[in-house]
């Protein structure tokens, strides 16, 4: 998905190899990839669809039960709670995009030290998400966490960020933004590199200041990249699992029940409770949700993305 979106930026060469001649070596070269694709992706994909219409006990063969898994899902409060949590998390994580745009534009402005900033902002990306979750669980601790202490210095009341399900999703979002900033920064930085310098020179001659240049040149020309970053951010946010598992799940935190995301529910149904049919239905619903949200974004892009 992601690379597909990026493809317009690069110009592929001519499509065919030596004209006219079929090269049978091609099949040998594709065979390993295709066998893997068929066995580990195509077949599991189809079997997930079948399973979503089946009742599968932990042991023994399953049996067809129509749309029962889906009707159960619709009637399950836990599912709607997870759906709401994932939606809220995704919406909140989008706040990271304007932050990344501002930082990318600032980094573009400076003449020295770009590399150092990039490295510093990228560090969370190469940190184990498990470690990230552990560190932030500690920082956001309600009793002696660093974050509440900083809030108290500012005269603000602290909260049990990772122990009260009214706040957990917000806590995940802070961590999610922190973790994703480095990636967005690099992609947006590459987009900024692609804006021709002449445009700035011309507008400088017209007397445009840097702020005006940002809004009249940088931002419009960056919209294709911003669109791309938004799409991949939404897709990955809708699949968030790690933070729930690390910050609440693996330690049996009582706030877990109200803080599960769609993928957490999938993991629990499929691999803890072994309700495979139900888990399959959750996965299919996730696919449909991602497809709808992405399609809507592609629809809306016509209204704000500038293509030249």
């Amino acid at each position: 998905m992601t690379a597909l979106l990026a493809s317009p930026a690069r110009r592929p060469g001519r499509r065919a190899g030596p004209a006219g001649r079929v090269d049978w070596w091609a099949f040998a070269m594709i065979a390993p990839a295709f066998i893997g694709l068929a066995a580990l992706y195509l077949w599991p994909f189809l079997s997930t669809f079948f399973k979503s219409f089946m009742d599968i006990p932990a042991f023994g063969p399953g049996e067809f039960n129509g749309v029962k898994n889906y009707t159960n899902l619709v009637g399950d409060d836990a599912f709607w709670r997870a759906f709401r949590n994932s939606a809220l998390y995704t919406a909140l994580v989008l706040i990271g995009i304007p932050i990344a745009i501002a930082l990318a534009a600032l980094i573009q402005q400076i003449s020295r030290g770009r590399g150092i900033y990039r490295v510093l902002f990228f560090l969370p990306v190469v940190t184990l998400p498990v470690a990230v979750g552990m560190v932030w669980r500690f920082i956001l601790n309600g009793d002696f966490g660093l974050f509440n202490w900083v809030l108290s210095l500012l005269g603000l009341p602290g909260q049990y960020w990772v122990a009260d399900d009214r706040f957990t999703i917000f806590a995940f979002a802070v961590v999610g933004i922190w973790m994703g900033l480095g990636i967005n920064l690099i992609i947006l930085g590459a987009g900024l590199q692609g804006i021709p310098e002449e445009l700035y020179e011309a507008s400088s001659l017209d007397g445009a200041g840097r702020i005006r240049q940002f809004f009249s040149i940088t931002l419009p020309l960056l919209t294709p990249t911003i669109f791309f970053v938004t799409v991949i951010t939404v897709i990955s946010a809708l699949q968030m699992f790690d933070l729930v598992f690390i910050m609440l799940g693996s330690i049996n935190n009582t706030a877990l029940a109200g803080s599960k995301t769609i993928v957490y529910l999938f993991y629990e149904a499929g691999f803890v409770q072994f309700r495979q049919g139900y888990a399959a239905a959750i996965a299919v619903v996730l696919l449909v949700v991602i497809m709808i949200v992405t399609a809507i974004q592609f629809r809306l892009q016509k209204k704000w993305v500038v293509y030249d």
């Binding site: 990026a6 499509r15 006219g20 070269m29 390993p32 930082l103 510093l120 009793d143």
Partner: protein, 288 residues
């Protein structure tokens, strides 16, 4: 000529204008960068504190009485080297397997003519768009059927095959000039020879990017290892660290020490191969 010199003047004056205001930009960036690294600094400081000091109010900044008890607890309670080996070996298996398989298929899709090419490639693209959870039930079943649960191959095998890798390598081969290939053919080199000794070396930058992205993903992956190592054997560091947290949920110095040690290998690789990381991300936008 005139327009050229005008442009140079404009460019240099713009450059000077930039320089003058630059300290303000640096000020903002430094504050932002500090905010970004606070969690790391706090993690390092905490790892040298005692468990008592960690829960004191107000929090102490630097350890009052620096100790390595946290690190000792971590190494005693987590089989670090065994799990490190699992993480590293499965990462290497995934990277090597994926690069070879993706490069072969990517080259065929980009440069060779054969019946069914478009349909086959469309299948790969289709799988690229599906979230990974849709494959997990079936992949788990397959690993279980092959008796591979709780083994290294179960961790590595699904990651060896990647529609994304095939796509990336196809893009790389498509952008290459055809002349080299045609010259090799004229010299009598066959398909495999042309691929191996002419085209593959030219694809090195993209291979590096793919290898780096695969490493990042393999090292950080949690959900799949969690699923295929139910018995606790052949666990990678991610699962081991999570399990340690379940056991020592409130021993923060030990947890911070463990998180630090498990993160360090990839951070070191990143610091050495920065350019490949950035190029990989910029060329593909892979997330998580």
């Amino acid at each position: 000529m005139t327009s050229l010199s005008l442009r140079t003047v404009a460019a240099s004056s713009r450059h000077r204008a930039r320089r003058r205001g630059e300290w303000r930009v640096h000020a903002i960036l430094i504050v932002a960068a500090l905010l970004m690294i606070v969690p790391f600094v706090w993690q390092i400081l905490t790892s040298f504190k005692t468990n008592l000091e960690v829960s004191s109010l107000p929090p102490t900044l630097s350890p009052a009485d620096p100790t390595v008890v946290g690190y000792e607890t971590f190494f005693v309670s987590v089989p670090f080297w065994a799990q490190f080996t699992v993480s590293a070996v499965s990462l290497i298996m995934r990277v090597i397997g994926q690069v070879i398989i993706s490069a072969l298929a990517g080259y065929a899709f980009a440069r060779l003519r054969f019946p069914g090419r478009n349909i086959l490639f469309a299948l790969f693209l289709l799988m690229l768009m599906v979230p990974s959870q849709l494959f997990m039930l079936g992949q788990f079943e397959l690993m279980k059927g092959l008796g591979l649960l709780n083994t290294l191959p179960a961790l590595a095998i699904p990651g060896v095959f990647s529609a994304f890798g095939v796509f990336l390598m196809r893009q790389a081969f498509m952008t290459m000039p055809k002349e080299y290939e045609e010259a090799a053919r004229l010299d009598g080199a066959g398909t495999l020879r042309t691929f191996w000794s002419v085209m593959l070396p030219m694809a090195r930058p993209m291979i590096a990017a793919l290898a780096v992205l695969t490493s990042l993903y393999a090292w950080n992956d949690l959900l799949w290892p969690l699923i295929v190592t139910p018995a606790g054997n052949a666990r990678p560091l991610t699962v081991g660290l999570a399990a340690m947290q379940g056991q020592f949920g409130t021993d923060y110095p030990a947890l911070m020490a463990g998180a630090l040690i498990c993160t360090a290998p990839l951070v070191i690789v990143f610091l050495v191969l920065q350019r490949q990381f950035f190029e990989g991300i910029a060329s593909s936008g892979l997330k998580g």
